[in-house]
Amino acid sequence: MRGRIASIGALALIALSTTAFAQKVNYFNFSGAGDNAPYLESMRKAFEAKNPGIDVNIETVAFADYFTQLQTRVASGTPMDCFELNYENFVTYAKKDVLLDLGPNFKKTGFDTKAISAKALGAFNVDGKQYGLPASFSNVVLFYNKALFDKAKVAYPTDAWTWKDEQSAAEKIRALDKDTYGIFQPVQFWEFYKVVKQNGGSLFSSDGKRFTVDSRQNIDTLTFMTDRLLKSNVMPTQKQCGGMGDWDLFKAGRLGMIVTGIWAFGEFTKDCPFSWDIAVEPGMKAKATHFFSNGIVISKNCANVDAAAKWAKFMSASREAADIRVTAGWELPAITDPQIIAAYSEITPPANRAAVFKSLEYLVTPPVVGQMQELTDILGAQLEAARDGAKTPAQALQDAQKELIAKIKL
């Protein structure tokens, strides 16, 4: 009896000490919001089961508010141990000297980075230092409504399509009725920097030291994008959208094609009453597709680097996290494990999931400068002017070029 009591007491003490002396890692993120929250929670449980003695405290904030809160916390000197950064904001934070260089930890622990996609890993490397680990990546493909294509008697898109094929199909679908449109591809910065590459253009010179926004190829590209709205009207104007978002229009069966991210798979699977599929985005002189990645970084002032690094590595390179992500359809894990990639490819819809990996062959990363948000707003305002017909594409890009040279340091 005494022995039993003593054993129970000892066990209780051990449990107490484990809890009391467990290392805590505070993790701040945005991608685990909404429908993804349960999957992030599963990842946390899997990590803690594998790493007893480390407790992960997750704090999730919606994307719209995330960077304001993050900036406030970093500025006040009370950042979280680990936090999530998307690729576009990562360079800003890395250059402000608030992130920990993970290289020494990798060396100390013998962490093998070969399990992680080289392209994704490279996205979080600045000046030769690895400041983050990619937790997921995603890209943008061409979604199409098979029912509308059948109705318009147009062959389905293929990975070999060009802008001309896309435009021709869009016009035939537009002709079906006044409320049906051929395509939606927003005229805004996040599309424009990629579409110019499809036409052999670029926003910067090859050395990245000059803006080339108003080049002939870029003007032609913007003309192509705005003509869809203002001339052929294969794409609905803001007014014609009537307050409906592009995804809503596609789900309502009013869009033949939409260029959007693979993160739409879950919602389209749930809400589209028609059959749909995907293809690699058409190009013109070249193919160019998006690459987005969310990474996990560690604060420079983190008191618990080893524990935080374990969490970051788990989220980036572990089989468990990758399995949860693939099953959930929550973007793509950044690991190179062929079994994981095969498991992802088997899930339908879409049937042509191979297009996601094919698109990676043509990926272009977003331009990354210190004044990223300012650059996107300056160029975005001019693209909007061209989209709404307030300026010609040439005038819009020339004005953008002038303002960017005046305000952005490259």
Partner: protein
């Protein structure tokens, strides 16, 4: 005696301490910090220390850059455009609400609550509702206009109509609050003035312009001061109603970019906290100027005899 006075002063200070500490910690110190940061190029991310402040010191450079930047004057023009549209409408609407709620009718208490509900609701909820109301093709407002033969504009999607749309939503939200203030003013008017006017045979219009408005002028003056200050601080409705994913903030072609929206954008999106701090102090000076101007002009039209 002196000892008792000193003791009394200390006791007073002790009782005031909780409020004073809060005032200093959450108002005075942040304001002083903001004034200092406005003289630097602080990015809002790096640690704040004397050495980093010294490195990033630009003196009045931020103020000079602002005053020489066409964006500042364009945004000030947008803000003033909002004020010019908003002020007459809010005054008219508030007076209307006050007169309506001053009447003695059944269920007047229910009407008072109804007109005050928009004031109590959050701006995010209200702005989302107005976004739908102002939808060009499916919104309630254009539908009503269509029934009387008027083709409604694009509202928030039209650079000429986005700001009027913001004004309508702002008037809806605020008229209950200011109407209540004017109601208090109306109820403070001595009824004997109206009785005398009735005896003299004054018409409704004469009573309104010779009795009601002059005696309501202190309340109207208060409403004007608050409205002008609030108008220069226009922010939540602009951010919710005219910010769209992937597009720059501030409505179609920047037509609803206003002072506080720009301050927020520079501080939290462009990582130019020093520049944004300077901008906020310039805004303070502008608001102070207009408030002082109103205080000076009040002698010409505000009647404090009641």
């Amino acid at each position: 005696m002196a000892h008792m006075k000193r003791a009394s002063a200390w006791i007073t200070l002790l009782f005031l301490a909780p409020s004073l500490i809060g005032l200093v910690a959450f108002s005075v110190l942040p304001m002083a910090a903001s004034l200092a940061l406005g003289l630097t190029q602080w990015d809002g991310l790096s640690a704040v220390s004397f050495s980093t402040m010294r490195e990033q010191w630009v003196g009045l450079g931020n103020y000079a850059a602002l005053l020489g930047d066409s964006e500042f004057w364009r945004v000030l023009k947008n803000t003033c455009y909002f004020i010019v549209l908003y002020l007459p409408l809010i005054l008219l609407a508030s007076v209307f609400v006050a007169l309506l709620l001053d009447s003695k009718r059944r269920l007047i208490g229910v009407y008072r609550v109804m007109y005050y509900i928009p004031v109590l609701s959050s701006w995010v909820a209200g702005a989302l509702v107005w976004k739908w109301v102002l939808s060009p093709d499916y919104g309630m407002l254009n539908d009503l206009l269509g029934r009387i033969g008027i083709q409604g504009p694009g509202w928030l999607q039209d650079r000429s109509w986005a700001m009027p749309g913001i004004v309508l939503a702002s008037v809806w939200k605020d008229m209950g609050y200011f109407g209540l203030i004017l109601l208090g003013g109306l109820q403070g008017i001595n009824p004997s003035y109206y009785e005398s006017a009735d005896i003299e045979g004054a018409s409704w219009a004469q009573k309104a312009f010779r009795i009601t408005l002059p005696l309501l002028s202190p309340a109207i003056f208060f409403v004007l001061i608050i409205c002008v200050i609030n108008s220069f601080q226009l922010f939540p409705q602009v951010m919710v109603m005219t910010a769209t994913n992937g597009q720059p903030p501030g409505g179609p072609l920047g037509s609803t970019q206003v002072m506080v929206e720009r301050i927020y954008t520079y501080a939290f999106k462009y990582y130019k906290m020093g520049f944004a701090s300077a901008w906020s102090w310039l805004l303070f000076v502008i608001i102070l100027f207009f408030t002082m101007l109103q205080l000076k002009l009040q002698k010409r039209w505000v009647n404090y005899e009641a």
